[in-house]
Symmetry: C2
Subunit: 519 residues, 2 copies
């Protein structure tokens, strides 16, 4: 596939004017073709105008049709898999196996939402029939269901070029809910975005949907993204990235004349607690598990375990083996130079911290932008006194904090902001005695992991990939799993509406055959 390097505006391609840069191979720092051009303000306006037009019909598209569309996207991505395998590793330093795995996950997500749409009960249809004889006043007929919010802007993530990007979770759930999507590509993998964007554009055409259901815009700086978030037609924003980037979008959206919801996944250090009995019982296995979770994907997962709380008496059961594994490990390429520099700064901060000891370090390879697995250690007393050790260091680093009492463990949790996950390892009897710890974990996180490590996020109905601020901007929602569809909806109530004018989901005859709650 020859890439053109321009935005996708509905059924057409943009021209652009200013450069949005070339992709860079992070392992060599070499740039390669094509050069990408940023969408002009006119092109952004056109994408938004088309999205508004498309919403007018796409909002009422049947669940079966939306399912066909989502499956067509998945099919087209699978048909482009060799193009992705040729391009994505060059842009991201990620191996071919990861491309295939992440593409599988991305297509799986799309098909999960297709099934959800097709079945249709997700709209939470509620019917309260009229009671004309009720005293003292008759009751009207009221019926409600979830309806799409309107056009959505999605910002692609650096660290998941497929599963959290152009056709990722936010795009899939917004399209499933009936919202058109405009994706802002991430400059770290522009070519991957183009390949996937074309797969979606083709699916729009094949399914006979209005072209504005999907656009993909490139932008070098912040202009294009800010224009989207400030545009009155845009009704919600999805974002995965840094705290700074996410908070800036939140503030921009909150300051609009009409504020809109921003679903930003931003930062997490995902604390893992290891209780003493389990450490004594299977310390080596836990060290291996922690090492695997810590270094998975080059440590560039949002669920990376950045903080480990271990009872001081049992710490050596873990740290001995972990040190051996990390010292024997090799570096891996990071996604881009910016992320690698930030990781380097984070490591320097910990290495030079008066309260922190460097426990183990992997070997640094010859290629560019290498992330060296590194483990640090401190005590709870020092951690709490320092107060500056809760920042995310994005990459394969973790800080082991030894504690000596349950009160210290509570104080450690209380010092943390919101997290995507909180994990605990313990024997059955240890966990049974830790009711207080479960509450601390729940206060801080969206997913509580027992005897496991936080990396690996199942795509299913009960998944919550979200959590209290600053893990995400809005801890009431998830970016993974079927519940993500609720991000882009609001309930609408129809009072005494003639049956013919009701959405199918609310008609007396229930032609969609969905589950409804009726009184």
């Amino acid at each position: 596939m020859t890439l053109q390097g321009t935005s996708i505006i509905g059924a057409l391609r943009g021209q652009g004017s200013e450069s949005a840069g070339q992709s860079i191979n992070p392992t060599t720092n070499e740039t390669f073709e094509p050069s990408y051009t940023a969408a002009t303000s006119e092109e952004v306006e056109q994408a938004v105008r088309l999205a508004a037009e498309a919403f007018n019909t796409y909002r009422d598209t049947s669940g079966a049709k939306k399912a066909e569309f989502l499956r067509a996207i998945a099919g087209n991505i699978e048909a482009s898999i060799e193009d992705l395998v040729a391009r994505m590793p060059l842009e991201t330093g990620l191996p071919e196996m990861r491309v295939r795995g992440e593409a599988g996950r991305t297509c799986g997500q799309l098909r999960m939402f297709a099934t959800l749409c097709e079945e249709g009960s997700w709209v939470d249809a509620r019917i309260d029939r009229a009671q004309p004889d009720r005293q003292p006043l008759p009751k009207v007929d009221t019926r409600s269901m979830l309806r799409p919010l309107g056009p959505v802007a999605v910002f692609a993530a650096s660290n998941f070029p497929l599963a959290f990007s152009t056709a990722g979770g936010d795009t899939a759930s917004a399209l499933a809910s009936g919202c058109p999507v405009i994706v802002k590509a991430h400059s770290s993998h522009s070519g991957t975005a183009e390949i996937v964007g074309l797969a979606i554009q083709q699916a729009v055409a094949d399914c006979g949907l209005p072209e504005g259901v999907f656009s993909l815009v490139y932008g070098g700086g912040r202009t294009v993204g800010q224009a989207l978030v400030k545009h009155p037609v845009i009704k919600a924003v999805g974002f995965t990235g840094s705290y700074g980037g996410g908070r800036a979008l939140m503030d921009l959206a909150a300051a609009r004349p009409e504020p809109i919801p921003v679903y930003a996944e931003m930062s997490a250090i995902n604390p893992v607690v290891i209780l003493p009995e389990v450490a004594a019982e299977k310390g080596e296995a836990l060290a291996e598990g922690l090492f695997g979770s810590l270094t998975l994907g080059g440590g560039q997962f949002c669920t990376n375990p950045g903080l480990v709380f271990i009872h001081a008496d049992a710490a050596s059961q873990i740290t001995g083996k972990l040190t051996e594994l990390v010292n024997g490990s090799s570096s891996a390429a990071m996604l881009n130079a910016g992320i690698c520099q930030a990781y380097g700064s984070g490591l320097d901060g910990l290495k030079n911290h008066a309260s922190v000891q460097t426990l183990a370090e992997g070997k640094c390879g010859d290629a560019q932008n290498q992330a060296v697995p590194t483990v640090f250690q401190t005590t709870a007393t020092d951690f709490l006194a320092a107060g500056d050790l809760t920042e995310e260091v994005f990459g394969p680093a973790t800080l082991i904090v030894t504690y000596t009492s349950d009160d210290e463990l509570s104080a450690l949790f209380a010092s943390l902001g919101g997290q995507l996950t909180a994990s605990v390892h313990g024997t059955g009897s240890e966990l049974a005695q830790q009711g207080g710890l479960a509450k601390l974990m729940e206060d801080r996180a969206g997913r509580l992991v027992y005897n496991g490590f936080p990396t690996g996020v199942e795509v299913c109905a009960s998944m919550v990939h979200g959590g209290p601020f600053p893990a995400t901007s809005d801890g009431r929602s998830t970016s993974v799993g079927t519940m993500a569809i609720y991000r882009f909806t609001r309930a609408v109530c129809y009072q005494d509406c003639p049956d013919a004018l009701l959405p199918d989901e609310l008609k007396d005859s229930n032609p969609a055959g969905i589950q409804r709650s009726e009184v």
Copy 2:
């Protein structure tokens, strides 16, 4: 009952220091006893501290226990009904019948949430069981349910001293979800707040719940309310009032180090469309219905129809009778002097507007703070050209806008901000031809009313009393009906959690006997 005039801080009473004023009889402008004192900053801090402590156990209180508590509140309010009848009309100018009716609605809401809690399925329990043999990777066991956010601050409304105040919808839904509540009383009905606050305080004690589950604070200016919204322990805010007040709280909450959700119901003019055939068929009945809706509760309902779009050819079918009814009507007391002054300013603005004609005016009575029903008229052309006729005038006023084409009707809708409701009157054949209008209505409102007027909000499972900004701060939620419980919750996922440590709702044996979705 002798009122003390001080805040309720958990099981105790505050002392206060600064004055929060006396209640004023709006019909005479006379003040009466007692004087209310504002909560001190120490008292606010104590209420918040108690709420945080209470959350630690109240969050895990069973549905049956929460139901008992909500019913105890309702019972205590009913036991205080004569105190309310003696006090509330003096403070608010509302008649005794309204006190009894609104108390009934308030207790009905509390019992509706009691039933919801007791049944228990509202938590949306989802179970995806483990698949240890899945290839290429085993699947972990994940289960999710909705959990309470934490302590909630509720700002009482001026216009519903019972149903949207101390024990109103936000308080009931927050308590039902498992969140402690701190209510900021409205200075317009301090005594009513105290009577209801004591009913809740007594219910907390009778049910053996931690005292911090409920507090009620008074404050003369903005200090007390702002302190609540900025406090890190507070996790959500409910508010019903003016656009200015609501937006200020939204901005305050968005600027916190940890932003929190604000559910503010702010302003709406609730457009009503009257199509020509139905106007010709039953113009007089429609005029009577409009007059009744317009003047209900002195025009002080958030669903008051402030704007009526009528086809020019049929306008006289409505305006003749409406003019007669309004000219023959009498004024009613408004809730307080501030609201009456704002209504007067709004009327002056319309009376002096070059594009607006005053069609009819009721008679002004002798008492203080009277709201005179008033009807204005203009054309769509003038309305759209003026651009300043979409502001809410809170009171029994409405503006009739005559249009001459469907395009003009579309342009009228397009000129409006978000609304709580949008209504249309039409014959069956007229409505069938107005598919475009249904979309315009849905874009702008949370509840679409067919052949009815917007006042009268059913408290039921399918009710949506919400709508796009600026009708509310967050159009994704409702303040009325069972869906209001979702305001104060977030989903939490438990991964491989031992059965004994799971909440009852997620245990294998389903001891709560609730509906769950399982895979």
